[in-house]
């Protein structure tokens, strides 16, 4: 007992307490308070990171390997138009839209009127076939006696749009009215003869929308809007 008391020095007690703290408590502290950046890939078990371990939005572009995402991983029907770089695809699509609004009186008889659409110029890409659709909203006024007609033509690169040649017409349409009075209708324009085949280099074209009308007698045909779509396919 006296030998034990002899050993009970300040040094021994302190060392014993420190040893207890380090060995018993210290381990627990270490486990719960791992130092920052102390867990590396060596410490992580394979497949230890599950869904719950991943934070929302944690997987950014840089974390995804090139070509890692296959179609099977993509939810059906979720890839939409805005996700696609349409210009890089070979599918047919509208590549240019020219539009115009405002009332324009249409010349009758042998007369022709150019209905302004904008942008009137566009560039056909190399290797791209183009064809053309259009529409003109037309109002026949009571002063234009039936039977009465209006027709429209989409011209491409016409040297003199009001005196065009048939080979400059890429889309055409016509409407007829036999009733009289005020009648508003849409005239649809397409396929005449259809399109421009692809060229080896990008080519700029100018579009003109020309409208004509004919009344049995009198006058009064007004175009209220016009549109031309260019469809491209590679």
């Amino acid at each position: 007992m006296s030998r034990l008391r002899q050993a009970l020095t300040f040094e021994n007690v302190l060392v014993t307490v420190v040893a207890f703290v380090v060995l018993a408590g210290g381990t627990a502290i270490a486990a719960n308070q791992l130092a920052k950046n102390s867990v590396g890939k060596k410490q992580l078990k394979a497949k230890s990171v599950g869904t719950a371990e991943l934070k929302k939005n944690a997987v950014t572009t840089a974390k995804i390997k090139k070509s890692a995402v296959t179609g099977a991983k993509v939810k059906d029907g979720t890839v939409g138009g805005p996700d696609v770089d349409a210009a890089s695809t070979s599918f047919s699509r509208i590549v240019h839209e020219a539009r115009g609004t405002g009332a324009v009186a249409i010349a009758g008889g042998e007369g022709r009127t150019a209905y302004p659409v904008s942008p009137a110029t566009y560039t056909q890409q190399a290797g791209e076939d183009n064809w053309f659709f259009g529409a003109v909203d037309v109002t026949f006024e009571p002063g234009c006696a039936p039977p009465r007609t209006a027709n429209g033509s989409v011209l491409v690169d016409a040297s003199n749009p009001l005196d065009f040649e048939d080979n400059e017409v890429l889309a055409r349409g016509e409407i007829y009215d036999g009733a009289g009075g005020t009648v508003s209708r849409r005239m649809h324009l397409s396929g005449f003869p259809g399109g421009i085949l692809q060229g080896p280099a990008a080519t700029t074209h100018t579009l003109t929308l020309v409208v004509e009308s004919e009344c049995d007698s009198g006058a009064g045909v007004v175009a209220t809007s016009g549109a031309v779509d260019v469809v491209g396919a590679r």
């Binding site: 210290g26 381990t27 627990a28 486990a31 179609g71 138009g81 509208i94």
Partner: protein, 236 residues
């Protein structure tokens, strides 16, 4: 030797053992016995979570940052039509298809026979063009050559008597001038000039009606139609 024994006190031995345990064994022990949820983002080293550490199917939609999957991340050629939201695609495609089978005899000039009708809705912003086909079966003996069949596809025309040229959106012709055409035969209906329906501002319902007219050398009955298809291609 005597000097060394003098330092071999309880305190020195315990302190030395403790130091060893702490420095070499303790850390390993701690790492192998980590408490639940003790490893958070702060404890993880940069790039510690490698592919092998991630469980299969662990990366769900919510874990992906918006816009994280770029085209380069998608395996080339792996996306199929099922993955696409077709109505939102800015591409041309067949948006409506209707088939008919049966047996009708083409009416004579001025009395076209209605083969079939079909309805569909044109999407806003879609230019729609129309095409189709008609199957022609061997004509009856009474329909001698020269003989012909005209197929016309009309849009939004409930009554042909009031139909206008602008309502005709596709047509096709079949001629058998010398009686040497083989049967059955197929007529293709191609879009007419002005046969497009330019993009409407809002979805617009349409009805398409397919009529056939037959002409034989002498008189009716005319050529028999046994099948037909109508297709609408929409381009955005």
């Amino acid at each position: 030797m005597k000097g060394a024994r003098r330092h071999l006190t309880y305190a020195n031995v315990l302190a030395t053992v403790t130091a060893f345990v702490v420095l070499f064994g303790g850390a390993a022990y701690a790492a192998n016995q980590l408490a639940k949820n003790s490893v958070g983002a702060k404890q993880l080293k940069k790039n510690a979570v490698t592919t092998a550490k991630i469980k299969k199917n662990a990366v769900t939609t919510a874990k992906l940052k918006k816009g994280a999957v770029t085209g380069a991340k998608v395996k080339g050629g792996s996306l199929g039509v099922a993955d696409l939201s077709l109505p939102s695609m800015p591409f041309g495609r067949v948006v409506h298809r209707a088939s008919w089978s049966g047996s009708v005899q083409g009416g004579g000039p001025g009395t076209p026979t209605l083969v079939t009708t079909t309805s569909y809705t044109q999407e806003a912003g879609s230019d729609d063009i129309y095409s189709g086909s008609v199957e022609v079966s061997p004509p009856p003996l009474t329909c001698e050559p020269p003989r012909a069949l005209v197929a016309n596809l009309y849009i939004d025309t409930p009554d042909l008597a009031t139909a206008l040229g602008e309502n005709q959106v596709a047509n096709g012709l079949f001629f058998d001038m010398k009686g040497n055409r083989s049967f059955p035969s197929r007529i293709t209906l191609a879009p007419t000039a002005g046969g497009v329906r330019f993009q409407p501002g809002s979805p617009t319902p349409h009805t398409l009606s397919l009529f056939v007219t037959a002409v034989c050398k002498l008189s009716e009955p005319g050529i028999i139609v046994t099948g037909a298809t109508i297709e609408v291609a929409g381009v955005k």
